[in-house]
Symmetry: C2
Subunit: 329 residues, 2 copies
């Protein structure tokens, strides 16, 4: 495979000059530039990025490490946006799958070290606290999505789950609902815990008694929600607040199978604002909206600001919004 010396020789210039036309910035006499370009074309030359990265000390790549396989609806939206914003800013993305709970592959940090200028983690279990601390020690710019706790030296974007769930519940109360069932997330997840707190807070503030028989363990699962639908309807709830959209769709499906209609028979409020499944859905779900795109863009920009200008790591809590569509009344 041709390298820079071959090109230089054939074009009758030094490799410095070849490098300059490749990099674009420095002035090269148009005629020699043209000649070099022609040789590059002819020889099918493509610079070795490992050498380039090593010599320049920067790769213009961001490593995106996800615990999700390629198809989580929340994080695939985030991944798309990360990819776009990186592109705009002249960076490429290298996606790596990592689950800290399995152990099939080597440490993604080791894998990418030297290949990327910064790390962006998304998804539960995509990174351990130890790994983050190691990254900080190594002074490698790092951003993470939604960890639930503030880690010094790390760029973070999160939403306030207590506030989001509180607003969601209040919204349902404002619509006149008093028996509001909830479909909860996985236990131990801080999102589940905080959303539960938000729900309880809203009830309290509106003097509605919390009833544990209205709490259904949905585990963030479509199928669990679908299977629980009958039971939830039997609880005489007039609305069900699902702690993610996936469960909301599962519930709607299950309710439909029992002959119930949404929102005529029961209102459904989701959480996340994902595009459900890979295809447009006819169900226009009312939901508590997390600004995935804004959060993603924020992380990328902050990361690149740290890489290029040494800006200190920042964090931001993003507000949620109620997106009122067709499943509530």
């Amino acid at each position: 495979m041709a390298n820079i010396d071959d090109v230089a020789k054939k074009a009758g210039v030094s490799k410095s000059t070849v490098s300059r036309v490749l990099l674009g910035g420095n002035k090269v006499k148009p005629s020699t530039k043209e000649r070099v370009l022609k040789v590059i074309e002819e020889m099918n030359y493509s610079p070795n990025t490992a050498a380039r990265t090593l010599a320049a000390g920067k790769s213009h790549n961001i490593g995106v490490i996800s615990s999700y396989t390629l198809n989580d609806p929340f994080y695939s939206a985030a991944g798309e946006e990360i990819y776009h914003v990186c592109g705009e800013m002249g960076y490429s993305t290298l996606f790596v799958i990592n689950r800290t709970d399995k152990n099939e592959h080597k440490d993604p940090i080791a894998l990418l070290h030297g290949k990327v200028d910064g790390f962006l983690f998304m998804g539960d279990n995509s990174v351990t606290k130890e790994q983050l601390e190691k990254l900080t020690k190594m002074e490698l710019p790092t951003a993470v999505f939604k960890t639930g706790e503030w880690i010094p030296g790390i760029i973070q974007a999160d939403t306030d789950n207590i506030d989001g769930a509180c607003r969601g519940t209040e919204y349902l109360i404002r619509l006149g609902h008093r028996r509001i069932a909830i479909l909860t997330g996985k236990e131990n997840y801080y999102e589940s815990i905080d959303r539960m707190k938000g729900y309880q807070k809203a009830l309290e503030e509106n003097h509605i008694r919390f009833e544990s028989e209205l709490v259904f363990p949905g585990q963030f699962s479509y199928d669990k929600a679908r299977n629980l639908a009958k039971e939830i309807i039997a609880s005489r709830a007039t609305a069900v607040f699902c702690f993610n959209d996936v469960m909301a769709h599962g519930f709607i499906q299950g309710a439909g199978e029992c002959g119930y209609r949404v929102p005529e028979d029961i209102s459904v409020l989701g959480y996340d604002n994902i595009m459900f499944s890979n295809y447009d859905s006819y169900v226009h779900l009312s939901t508590v909206k997390q600004p995935i795109k804004e959060m993603s863009a924020y992380l990328v920009r902050a990361l690149i600001a740290q890489i290029e200008d040494g800006q200190p790591p920042v964090q931001k809590i993003f507000p949620t919004k109620i997106s009122e569509k067709e499943t509530t009344r």
Copy 2:
């Protein structure tokens, strides 16, 4: 950030020795190995992969270039398997999104050149023929999924779409169906064209007249299929053969909305054998099964065989199988 010289100095050895303990293969006296390891740990040292790749001339990485954003059901299954098999064989994967029809990012080949030992493309438009030819010229091992045509020097896995559709149609005929509607794919896609040929072939062999009013343009789309359901049922077809599973699910949804049941009122056969949406589905779809996993594993193994042992590029056509589930009778 510490480099190999820092480690060597602190451990009182040469960097050759540090390199040896890092690589693992060569014999290093246990006591010095231990000492070096301790220093590595202390200094939080992690070798620069760009330098390593450059020096060793190999990266032990496979670049996986997909035209799909992170959530196509067919290719996410493939991606998973690629990831696993690579892991088994000591390779890591770098995922890059590329659509040749857009042009936001730089050429993924340039992006990954020097970072990976081989390329694996998946998805329509993930790579152009020119790019493949360039890769061949550069002697970079390359594998592609389902291109529909044989390109010399490229490792390929595909299925026979004519045969698959023919068998699918025959299967329905054997069940007693005579009026078999089809929901076709995007025009111009070789899969669509070949599956259509297979359908016609099966009809012919069974002396059933082809009727163009039984052909519905589904475009591989869930929504299109859902919207066409009423019309298809009105055509008095007793079975509908969908050229992908996504449309089959869309049809079933649409039929359900019109009050029709599958398979009581109409049989439905899909094509692909994907896990529909990101969640388990209660619909157990009968389908023409493409062995995605086997194909993925085949590509990876062939690619690594070429990288490591200089094996010549191979190609294989995989057989499809009818997977009889609950939507046909």
